[in-house]
Amino acid sequence: MGLDQILALLQTALELGLISSLTVLALFLSYSMLNVCDLSTDGCFTLGAVVGAAVAISGHPYLSIPAAMLAGVASGFITAILQTKMGVNSLLAGIIVNTGLYSVNIAIMGGSSILNMNKADTVFTAVKSALAKINLSEQYKLAVAAAAVVIIAVLLGLFLKTRLGLAIRATGDNPDMVRSSSINPVFTTIIGLCVANSFTALSGCLLAQAQKSVNIDIGGGMVTIALASLLIGNVFLGKKKMPLRIAGMVLGAFVFRLVYTIALRFNMPAFMLKLVSSVIVVAAISIPYIKQQLPLIKRRLESRKREGNANA
């Protein structure tokens, strides 16, 4: 096992981590900021992948990105309207949209469950031919993914600093206060979910184009993976300022993939990886908690000991 292979494996983990970090950023906005657990994420991820693939196959590689993001906005809009205007519970709204998107996604693929982009021009192939001139064509996936993440992360950071962004953050923290400061929480929820779902769709679009194929299962389990990455990211940089927290999300996504890479390297069968990721998420959440509780537990043990001594 040479250095080249290790670098190649790390690069794959980084590529996948960067691409899925866009979904993590989406959940960062909807789950951490707005306090809405958006269960339409799986379907929206697939929607982005499918729309991106369909547009790219029809010969518009660059148009595929905004098209996928717009599809995500539409999906987020419906999820938001269901929970703010139609009295549907927010978890249920996500599940309903997720279920409905299955049919929509199959319809977009023309009744098929799989599309191949092997011969189609995508954003990745365009960048690849551009990078070939400076002899970096092997890093094309990384370049596209990194560029997308940097742009989205910066935009998200700036957005959260605006008046509207602050209102969205406040909506998640304290909806009553928001209402009393005459901000409409319905409006902030709708905007927040639209923006978040456009990130999710972009994430799906990029993964499909990087893999040059899309199938109906591509978004399966994304919401759990993204939540896990988000929690891991919180452990590293959760209590810092906003730009660092955003960077933490990307870091979390990469660490999550890295764990898979290492487990596969140890010849762990792939079906065991879900258990590995569960254990890691539990560790990520509970270790800081237990650390915090440790002095209390110590004191309790000591006082019990003292009592025991006194009785004896």
Binding site: S113, N118, L264
Partner: protein
């Protein structure tokens, strides 16, 4: 800051781990020939037919290794329909410097095709129903790139002929499938063409989960169809044990695209023998890895899918005479075999 430092440190340690503990399966002892061929096999999802293929590939590779004095170092993984994981498994294979990759089912084949575009590692796929339609090969005879393999293309017209052979007055056929299954798409299109050409009415009944399939079956029974056709559809396959009794009671025969359906209670399974498909896939991989055959000129192998499997219990419940049915089917099949209802092939053997 401390945390970031710790993180960077842990990455370095992880990298060191990977270097030190590179694939821990011991390198197979090489024979006199001294040649070791590294093979990476990836399966898409746990499924009776797909697992059967993988088992046969592995067994056949071992056999060939023994005959030719070559050691096949096989690493096998199953991505369980996770697209991210699929990419990681394949890049793990590439890091291991595999000489050849075998991808079972269409999504795996596509991901391998994308991953080997630049490095040209040969890819042999197994059980891809429509390799040309999926864009894996240019044509069945001359694939034209580093990708070739075996196809479980279903001869739909032959199944339709069996339906009319058993019941010449058949008027209305139900097409029961999952619209999300790529393996059904081409077969259902062919079935519609055939039925249109022969002036037989048909209705489409679809479901994506066991519940929905059960509802679809109730609907087709209510509509009073004469027979049901299902191609090699994994969703219906998973539902077969829950629907076969309903169809038996309604007196409707279920014609399907694989013997595993008949095992689970369908009247007839007609199609590719997946064990043979696995063996052929291994043969093809060996001839590319050892004999220097070029994937670009190695034709995609299809199978003379003339083997009909009849479930004798269902046959009796439906009021068919097994011997008469065999006689009616004989002209259209290379082989007819019988089976009884069970959950897995192991129970029957």
């Amino acid at each position: 800051m401390k945390k970031i430092f710790a993180f960077v440190l842990s990455i370095i340690m992880a990298a060191a781990c990977m270097a030190a503990c590179s694939p821990s399966n011991p390198a197979p002892t090489s024979d006199a020939d001294g040649k070791t061929v590294k093979v990476g096999i990836c399966n898409y999802v746990d499924d009776a037919s797909l697992n059967q293929i993988v088992e046969n590939i592995q067994a056949r590779l071992k056999e060939i290794g023994g005959e030719k004095g070559v050691a096949f170092d096989v690493s096998y993984d199953n991505c369980n329909a996770d697209a991210n994981l699929l990419t990681q498994i394949i890049s793990n294979f590439i890091a291991d410097d595999v000489d050849i990759m075998i991808g079972v089912a269409t999504p795996v084949a596509m991901a391998m095709q994308a991953a080997t575009e630049d490095n040209g590692i040969p890819v042999v796929f197994a059980a891809v129903s429509d390799p040309v339609g999926a864009g894996l090969v240019e044509s069945m005879e001359a694939p034209g790139s580093n990708v070739t393999g075996t196809s479980d293309y279903l001869d739909t017209a032959a199944v339709m002929q069996l339906i009319t052979a058993a019941d010449p007055d058949v008027k209305n056929i139900a097409l029961l499938y999952d619209i999300g299954q790529d393996s059904s798409t081409a077969a259902i299109a062919h079935a519609k063409e055939y039925l249109d050409a022969n002036g037989i009415a048909y209705g489409e009944y679809t479901g994506t989960t066991v519940d929905e399939v059960t509802l679809a079956v109730q609907a087709l029974i209510a509509d009073g169809v004469d027979a049901v056709f299902t191609p090699t559809d994994n969703t219906i396959m998973k539902s077969e044990l829950s629907i076969y009794e309903m169809l038996q009671e309604a007196g409707i025969p279920h014609y399907t695209g694989a013997d595993s359906f008949a095992l689970n209670g369908a009247f007839l399974g007609y199609g590719v023998d997946y064990a043979a498909l696995g063996v052929e896939t291994a043969n093809m991989a060996a001839s590319i890895a050892l004999g220097g055959a070029k994937p670009a000129d190695t034709a995609v192998k299809t199978f003379d899918n003339g083997c009909a499997t009849i479930n004798t219990e269902t046959c009796e419940k439906l009021g068919f005479n097994y011997d008469e049915i065999c006689k009616a089917f004989e002209p259209f099949c290379t082989k007819i075999q019988s089976i009884v209802t069970a959950e897995s092939f192991d129970e029957v053997k």
